[in-house]
């Protein structure tokens, strides 16, 4: 009984500590939210498929963005991963965004290199570069204001013509 129990524990721990050997990142897709009128924050999403030589699934991957690290989440198949984050609309920058993706080993090596100050030795699995064109903030002048001003101008024209007739 005890042996069975320990065997189950060993399997469980080895499964959770499973590493992805020679991971290949495929089918990278990126998306960002572009309408500030419908959202309170700007969301950035990177989705990809990871194929491991040892067929490991649901393994952690790490993304480095501007010195900050995020962990990935996987779907039910364990092969499709997603890394996402959000920023306040005013702070979210537009333009080119570079995201470096690491596996667990690469992440450990990168952190070591960061502490030592020598980042040249760190090697990522893939660098994803995508472009965020910025959020649409709506027209700078409200349309009802423009229409009211337009009708005000038309009325002014009518009134001045009427004054000419009466005088």
């Amino acid at each position: 009984m005890k042996s069975i129990f320990f065997a189950v524990l060993i399997i469980a721990t080895s499964a959770s500590g499973q590493q992805c050997n020679q991971a290949k990142i495929l089918n990278v897709r990126t998306s960002t939210s572009e309408n500030s009128k419908l959202n309170t924050e700007t969301a950035f999403i990177i989705q990809f498929k990871a194929q491991c030589q040892n067929n490991a699934r649901n393994v952690p991957f790490y993304a480095e963005i501007d010195g900050k690290f995020l962990t990935s989440s996987a779907d039910a198949t364990g092969e499709n991963y997603e890394i996402s984050w959000s920023e306040p609309i005013k702070k979210a920058r537009s333009g080119e965004i570079k995201v470096r993706i690491f596996d667990e080993e690469g992440y450990g090596a990168f952190r070591k290199a960061q502490r030592s100050g020598d980042l040249s030795s760190s090697k990522d699995l893939q660098t994803v570069t995508f472009y965020h064109q910025g959020s649409y903030k709506g027209p700078s002048v409200q349309i009802e204001f423009l229409v009211t001003v337009l009708f005000g101008v038309i009325f002014y024209f009518a009134k001045s013509s009427m004054n000419k007739i009466q005088n």
């Binding site: 009802e144 229409v147 009211t148 009708f151 038309i154 009518a158 009427m162 007739i165």
Partner: protein, 173 residues
């Protein structure tokens, strides 16, 4: 006595024309034209309140009908008043257009012609002036003054104030 009274009752054609000219009463054609235009202009804000202020016509058709009828009445009142004032001003200005037709035999014809022109111009100008004023006041009232009110109150108050002010300003000379 009876002969005198019958004479005063039988007005000449010229006197009748003069009375008609200086009266605020409209011909049937002018009335129909004014009421038709007033109804159209009063109905236009329904689209605004339906699409922008989210007042569904199926739920609020009674209020829309009442508001349109009330506003149309006041707008047509304003049309009539402004037309009356403008007609005489335009008529006076037309003396410069027909300066040579002062001979007796042509006088009636020129007067009739000037009257028609003045009538037409005053009618169209009254409609243009009152429509622009009504829509301007309505936009200011619904988007600025009453923008935080519920749509129904916004509709009634904006329409009442716009048409009420229109009728009030039309009574001035």
């Amino acid at each position: 006595m009876s002969a005198k009274s019958s004479k005063s009752k039988n007005l000449s054609q010229e006197e009748e024309a003069l009375l008609q000219d200086y009266s605020r009463d409209l011909s049937t054609k002018s009335s129909a034209f004014f009421y038709g235009n007033a109804a159209i202009v009063s109905a236009v804000p329904i689209w605004l309140f339906w699409k922008i202020h989210q007042m569904e016509p199926t739920n609020n058709y009674i209020y829309f009908i009442l508001g349109t009828l009330f506003t149309a009445y006041l707008i047509s009142f304003a049309y009539k008043n402004v037309k009356f004032v403008l007609k005489h001003k335009i008529f006076q200005n037309l003396d410069n257009v027909f300066p040579n037709e002062k001979e007796k035999k042509n006088e009636d014809r020129s007067l009739k012609k000037k009257n028609e022109i003045a009538e037409y111009e005053a009618t169209t100008y009254s409609i243009f002036y009152n429509n622009s004023l009504f829509l301007f006041i309505l936009l200011v009232a619904s988007f600025v003054i009453f923008k935080n009110f519920t749509p129904l109150f916004n509709y009634f108050l904006s329409m009442s104030i716009a048409s009420g002010l229109l009728a009030l300003f039309s009574t001035s000379k």
